[in-house]
């Protein structure tokens, strides 16, 4: 039986319109053989969690460059838990200062990929994390 494809939701929470990184990562994950769903812009935490549920994804990748992650990520993380999606691998990318990283890890954001990250590194991280399961 062929191995099940890893399903990834790439989401843009908040008002931030910078979608270059989200789109590049989505393409790279798709080229690496994953099933990728991109939410489009201006998604509320509720919309993102709803999409994660509907699409039955293994991974949620959040991209944000506006600085609103400190408010929005905790809400998304909590909503994922409330909806029984504790096992979904949550990743984040964008402009996220080092000082915010420990709190985000605490919330369950497992990988944080800032500017300059190679797409290979993200692919590898996802494959390893999902492979552990």
């Amino acid at each position: 039986m062929p191995e099940k494809k890893i399903r990834v939701l790439i989401a843009k929470p908040g008002l931030d319109g910078h979608d270059r990184g989200a789109k590049v990562v989505a393409r790279a994950l798709r080229d690496a053989g994953m099933e990728v769903i991109y939410t489009g812009l201006r998604q509320t935490p509720e919309m993102i969690v709803e999409a994660a549920l509907q699409e039955d994804v293994d991974v949620v990748g959040l991209s944000i460059l506006s600085g609103a992650h400190t408010t929005l990520f905790p809400r998304i993380a909590n909503l994922l838990k409330d909806n029984g999606l504790d096992d979904v691998l949550v990743l984040a990318g964008g402009i996220i200062p080092d000082e915010d990283v420990p709190a985000l890890n605490e919330l369950g954001v497992r990988g944080i990929f800032g500017p300059g990250t190679s797409t290979e590194k993200i692919v590898k991280f996802i494959e390893e994390e999902i492979g552990k399961r």
Binding site: D16, R20, K23, A68, T71, I95, G114, S118
Partner: protein, 559 residues
């Protein structure tokens, strides 16, 4: 520029050189790569000669600065006469904090102001709107009402200095607030100089800060053209922007082509309204990116001037030479900055800024080294401003006009940039102009494609980014980052509440109702917006009326 016989001679000599001198060297020392490419992945030849610009006609293609087709610059003396405006894009937190930053920048020699608004403001939401949660003051300053605008420019001589405001969907409202704030200080709108970005088309293409659908959005834009032409003769009512298109991943040629195609669309819209092209075209301004590839960028600016002049004169029939001028602001490329070894960004920015100056820019923002990490700190922004001052006063590049003209390489690149732009124009026309092209996702797809290719080039090591995929350091370089006043949001919310409490709410309701009726009709909306703003109707309230009347735009998701 060259006689036929001379070219034939050069060709003969070139062939000889290739067979002998060059071949010998290549046999012993092969070149470092098989192909050399620009930042836009376009191939670059080993050597350029007169043969590469054999068709160039000096008078037709270059001419003299200040004369058609303006390839060499829009002013006869360029930076010998007047330096570009040193205009640092700035804004964060509250109006008070940003006002202090403006004063700091002016004290250190900047010559124009440039406002960065926060996300809620860009989307027409007040600070206390639920949609604004978590976003206050993060990417710029919050301006929810005239009261904020008054504080933002407190003690700043707006009758003497020009101000650029980076705002698009709600541009007409923000502009009205600026006008009303000046008015309260006894400064009539006629004397105000500055720019509103107001370029909605590139929002759909790249920056994505749109609120309303294209049609009512274009109406608002043309309303500002008309109002500006009649009442604010020194105001640029639009800054047609390639910057964000480039930041989203476009190549230099795509930036050029999509920006100018947007420009054509605005000209058409103005003329369709019944405005004389020469009435509003002189106040159309542009905004370009300055990316890493030095010569490619310079060629882009030169080609832009030539194309715009030609299209305005030949296609749109503009008769006033000022309508032919492509005047532009430049910002160095934010997307080229690295979070790794941030001090290296000072060098990148300096090279990019130099290209903008040599390309004949009218105004320049230089990014700060810390911008891949946060909004700029005072010390970082000072170095960025000093970079411009060093170019202006120490490098000597300003002493003569368009010094790179006649370079075989630069002229060949300028021609190529122009050809690529025209290929895109043809494609865009076949899709029904830029509005049709956007609807079909054409520019969006082209840009996403280029962005992905660029990333692949970095990931595969075909392209070196210093400090990112080569020349890494173990040491984690840290620099001090900007601290934003955490109490600011509370103060802003209180101010907003006070404004709503103390204003004449009956008057506000009347003016909003008048605005709604006007929005449903075809009147120019600027006078109605101004009246609402003067009564302290908030940005969110005014945009709320538009949201109801015009609806909101949802973009097609394109991967």
């Amino acid at each position: 520029m060259f006689e036929k016989e001379k070219l034939a001679e050069i060709k003969e000599e070139l062939d000889k050189w290739e067979e002998t001198t060059l071949q010998k060297t290549l046999n012993r020392f092969p070149e470092r790569r098989d192909t050399f490419i620009t930042t836009s992945s376009a191939p670059v030849e080993r050597l350029y000669t007169p043969l590469d610009i054999a068709g160039l006609d000096y008078e037709r293609d270059l001419g003299f600065p200040g004369q058609y087709p303006f390839t060499r610059g829009v002013h006869p003396t360029m930076h010998r006469g007047r330096l570009w405006t040193m205009r640092m894009f700035a804004g964060f937190g509250t109006a008070e904090e940003t006002n202090a930053r403006y004063k700091y920048l002016l004290e250190h020699g900047e010559t124009g102001l440039s406002v960065a608004f926060d996300m809620p403001t860009l989307y027409g939401y007040d600070t206390d709107d639920p949609q604004a949660e978590g976003e206050f003051g993060k990417c710029g300053v919050a301006v929810s009402s005239l009261a904020d605008m008054e504080l933002l420019f407190d003690d700043i001589p707006v009758d003497e200095i020009t101000t650029s405001m980076t705002i698009n969907s709600p541009a007409a409202v923000t502009w009205a607030m600026y006008i009303a704030a000046a008015e309260k200080r006894g400064i009539p709108m006629e004397v105000l100089g500055g720019t509103i970005q107001n370029d909605i088309l590139k929002e759909y293409v790249a920056q994505k800060e749109f609120i309303f659908p294209p049609k009512p959005s274009m109406r608002l834009v043309v309303d500002t053209f008309e109002f500006g032409a009649r009442h604010l003769p020194k105001w640029n009512t639009i800054s047609i922007s390639g910057y964000h298109i480039r930041e989203a991943g476009a190549t230099a040629a795509q930036e050029l082509a999509f920006t100018l195609a947007d420009g054509f669309e605005y000209v058409k819209a103005g003329m369709e309204r019944g405005l004389d092209v020469d009435e509003f075209a002189p106040r159309l301004s542009f905004f370009f990116n300055a990316h890493n590839d030095f010569f490619e960028e310079i060629a882009k600016y030169r080609a832009a001037r030539r194309i715009w002049a030609r299209e305005m004169r030949e296609r749109f029939g503009a008769k006033n030479p000022r309508s032919w001028w492509m005047r532009f602001h430049t910002q160095t490329a934010g997307c080229s900055l690295t979070a790794q070894q941030p001090e290296n960004n000072i060098v990148r920015t300096a090279i990019q800024a130099l290209a903008a100056v040599l390309g004949g820019t009218q105004s320049l923002h230089t990014n700060s080294m810390d911008e891949a990490l946060a909004l700029p700190s005072e010390s970082a922004v000072r170095i960025a401003l000093r970079t411009q001052q060093i170019i202006a006063h120490e490098s000597g590049v300003v002493n003569t006009v368009d010094p790179l003209a006649g370079s075989y390489f630069v002229e060949a690149l300028t021609n190529r940039m122009e050809e690529e732009a025209y290929e895109y124009f043809r494609k865009i026309e076949s899709l029904g102009g830029m509005l049709g092209a956007i609807e079909r996702g054409f520019p969006q797809r082209e840009i996403a494609e280029s962005a992905y290719r660029y990333q692949r080039e970095i990931d595969t090591g075909q392209r070196t980014v210093v400090g990112v995929n080569d020349y890494l350091t173990e040491e984690h370089v840290t620099i001090p980052l900007l601290e934003i006043d955490r109490e600011g949001e509370q103060r802003q919310r209180e101010r907003l509440a006070r404004v709503r409490r103390e204003r004449d709410n009956e008057l506000v309701a009347q003016r909003l109702e008048a605005l709604r009726e006007a929005a449903q009709g075809t009147d120019n909306l600027m006078p109605y917006i101004l009246d609402a703003v003067r009564a302290y109707a908030t940005l969110g309230e005014i945009c709320g009326v538009f949201r109801e009347v015009f609806g909101e735009y949802r973009e097609p998701v394109i991967l």
